[in-house]
Amino acid sequence: MATLSDVPSESFRLSMLINDKRYRSYTFQFIALLLLVVAFSYLGYNLAKNLQAAGLNISYSFLGDPAGYDINQRLIDYNSQSSHWRASLVGVLNTLLVAFLGCITATIIGVFVGVLRLSNNWIVSKLMSVYVEIFRNVPVLIWILMIMAVFTAVLPKPKDYRGADATASMVADSFAFTGRGFYLPKPIFNDGSGIVVAVFLLSIAGIFFYRRYAKKALFERGQLLPTFLPSVAIFFIPSILFFFIMGQPISLDYPALKGFNFQGGIYMRASLISLWFALSIYTAAFIAENVRAGILSVSAGQTEAAASLGLRPNRIMNLVVLPQALRVIIPPLISHFLNLTKNSSLAIAVGYMDLTGTLGGITLNQTGRAIETILLLMAFYLTISLSISAIMNVYNNSIKLRER
């Protein structure tokens, strides 16, 4: 019996481009591509005509010209004679600075609030949910502006520290909190301090290796080594020892009131601090929800099973609950970090000179090169987010449940 399933081979007809499912997809894709090309060439044509009419061209040579403006918050050398490129670099570093500081504090506050929200103490958990709801439901721009305004208005001015009847005084003679910003002691690295720093870094690596050794001992020989006290010892003792052996090479430069303002030390501007603080508490509200969801996602049976194996509470937390909760917590946590970095572009509202303030703000206004600057600005943020999502994909794959 001959098989009937053979499709009679048809010759290609033009109507198959619309009616046959196999070819229709090519038609659609071709139309989409055509539309895309037409749209882009239309936009490009308009762009060329507009630029021609305005007597402009697309060129990045302006990046080499002197910027001609000052940036008050900077991590690297910069003056008004430096190039626009250098100014953008200062902006990039400022963006990364506030994003880095913000991510750390937001995580700390967020974990703290998230854990307290799960507390069986009624009043504490209610207080924390009020915090979360208030900060999540109001734009971060309002928080930034409000904190900046209140910061400047409430804290004492440098002149309040002057004279015999000063209304404000420095904390521990080394910290000054003023409405213009915070003044902190600055470490000065003299000769030989490199060795102390190196020892400090080595001892941190040492802690890491010791912990790995202890884990290996536990898994292979069942030998339970103490980790907490040795870690503390490795952290402090070698560094302090070398600090004194090298003759105290690191000293502190204290801020001091000279004239109408403080001199010396590290000066953190009010704009940096209020931006940092506002971004932290705003993002912390989201992270808190995240942490709470993560902890709740580990079923109570896991805790009970671990307890019935005879594990102590802190080991239950470290060995059973946290590894499972982190799987839920970390991916959204990273996307909150990314949001914080993107939100840091609101720095422009308080005059903190991040990349949006330098490249997308003053450089744009001075050179009038809108397309080039905004392309660069977008490329920077795009690079950051794409690289972070790439890292996150690798991480997600590495912690994926491996089913046997």
């Binding site: 762009l47 005509k49 721009l141 987010s385």
Partner: protein
């Protein structure tokens, strides 16, 4: 003779039940369990009580001792004379500016207020399925009515556009049984023809039932936030669905166009897109066209939120078991039908919480337009109000007002979404 006779006393009936010890009932038990269960908990409770006390001690006198009727900050401070109290008179004096901006003609404020009330009516049937379905006709009419009320001009303009939409819809229904793509194309073409022809009529009769025309740069205040939020969310929903479907599709080119668009938009902060709207978009339009700033901003914010909504809906699509797609195919439904009837209703239901999150985030992000010098609520506070000589220096009152407005709107939206999730939960738990 039973043995009990010898015993001096045997109880023959039950004692009444004793009440539990006072420490184990009612408020005291609750306090013991929830606030003072351990030493650590007691410390936490006392600390929280102290924090609440401190907050209230600062907040209550400020709220209750405030003045609502002075005409400037100086006058208010003079009356307060060092006592604690807020100068809320800035809110009463600048109320209209905070809500409507400082350029909208004052005798036309009723239009904005009317649009707001009508908006509530138009949104209600979408939010509550129990309301009569006939109200959806009003929802359909509202965009045109709202456009006319906000921007003014002749009523013919929105009527012509409405007629175009109706013509497109009729054409779509006529051709739908042929094929979806054909019907969509026919609908778009007929809508375009009607709008193009109607443009001549409305252009020649610009005085017909006309309201005073208000240029969009005169819009401002909290109303601007609301307009941007509502318009952009409603526009970005269909675009987001289309992008999500495109990203899921087998057609490689379409898939990659969608992926690049979504990842690009999600990778940059909204503020750079607003810069694009402000300074770059003009370069890409035909020379001589003068595009309204608010329209450019709406385009960019819509692109922004549609990328986020697309990701949310993609999550919903991914959560559907593939059996649903296969079942739809095996019933002989084509792509458009299976999406409309089987896939999207389920996928959208799953994505509701995510969509609401995006909507709340978008509404909050509308404050960013103040950075490109539009006078929304934040822009009004930072610009005209805090810079004025009367009110230079009232931070707490103004910012608290802004916090309150946004909190009320966003919190109620998120509560609504939680309620809706409960309503839509059809599985048996």
């Amino acid at each position: 003779m039973s043995r009990t006779d010898n015993i001096a006393f045997v109880r023959s009936d039950m004692l009444p039940e004793m009440p539990p010890p006072t420490a184990e009932t009612g408020a005291i038990k609750w306090l013991r369990e929830n606030l003072f269960s351990s030493a650590f908990n007691t410390i936490l409770t006392l600390l929280s009580l102290y924090v609440i006390f401190q907050l209230l001690q600062g907040f209550l006198p400020w709220l209750l001792g405030g003045y609502w009727t002075t005409s400037s900050l100086r006058e208010c401070r003079d009356i307060l004379d060092g006592a604690s109290g807020g100068c809320f008179s800035v809110l009463t004096e600048r109320w209209n500016q905070l809500l409507f901006g400082f350029k909208y003609p004052p005798d036309q404020y009723w239009r904005m207020a009317l649009v707001f009330v009508l908006m509530l009516g138009a949104v209600a049937p979408v939010l509550y399925q129990k309301l009569p379905r006939k109200m959806l006709y009003f929802t359909g009419l509202f965009p045109f009515l709202g456009f006319w009320l906000i921007w003014g001009g002749t009523i013919l303009t929105p009527i012509v556009i409405l007629a175009g939409f109706i013509a497109g819809y009729v054409a779509f229904r006529r051709l739908e049984h042929n094929s979806f793509a054909m019907a969509a194309l026919g609908g778009i073409i007929s809508a375009w023809i009607v709008i193009w022809l109607g443009g001549f009529i409305s252009g020649s009769m610009s005085g017909f039932i006309a309201l005073e025309s208000v240029p969009s740069r005169d819009l401002g205040g909290f109303m601007l936030n609301l307009i941007l939020g509502v318009v952009c969310v409603s526009l970005s929903l269909p675009i987001g669905i289309a992008l999500a479907l495109g990203r899921q599709s087998d057609l490689l080119i379409i898939k990659w166009i969608c992926v690049v668009f979504i990842e690009f938009i999600r990778g940059v902060p909204l503020i750079t897109l607003l810069f694009v709207a402000n300074v770059v978009l003009g370069y890409f339009l035909p020379p001589g066209t003068n595009f309204d700033l608010i329209l450019r901003v709406i385009i960019m914010i819509t692109m922004f939120s549609s990328a986020y909504i697309a990701e949310v809906i993609r999550g919903g699509l991914a959560a559907l078991p593939s059996g649903q797609f296969e079942a739809a195919n095996s019933l002989g439904l084509d792509y458009a039908q299976s999406m409309q009837l089987i896939i999207l209703p389920q996928a959208l239901k799953i994505s509701i919480p995510g969509i609401v999150n995006v909507a709340v985030g978008l509404f909050k992000d509308t404050t960013l337009v103040s950075v490109i010098s539009m006078f929304d609520l934040v822009g009004m506070i930072r610009g005209p109000i805090l810079a004025s000589t009367e009110w230079n220096g009232v931070y707490w009152e103004l910012w608290s007002f802004a916090v309150l407005l946004f909190f009320v709107v966003c919190f109620s939206i998120s509560k609504y979404s939680q309620w809706l999730e409960q309503q839509l939960r059809t599985d048996h738990r």
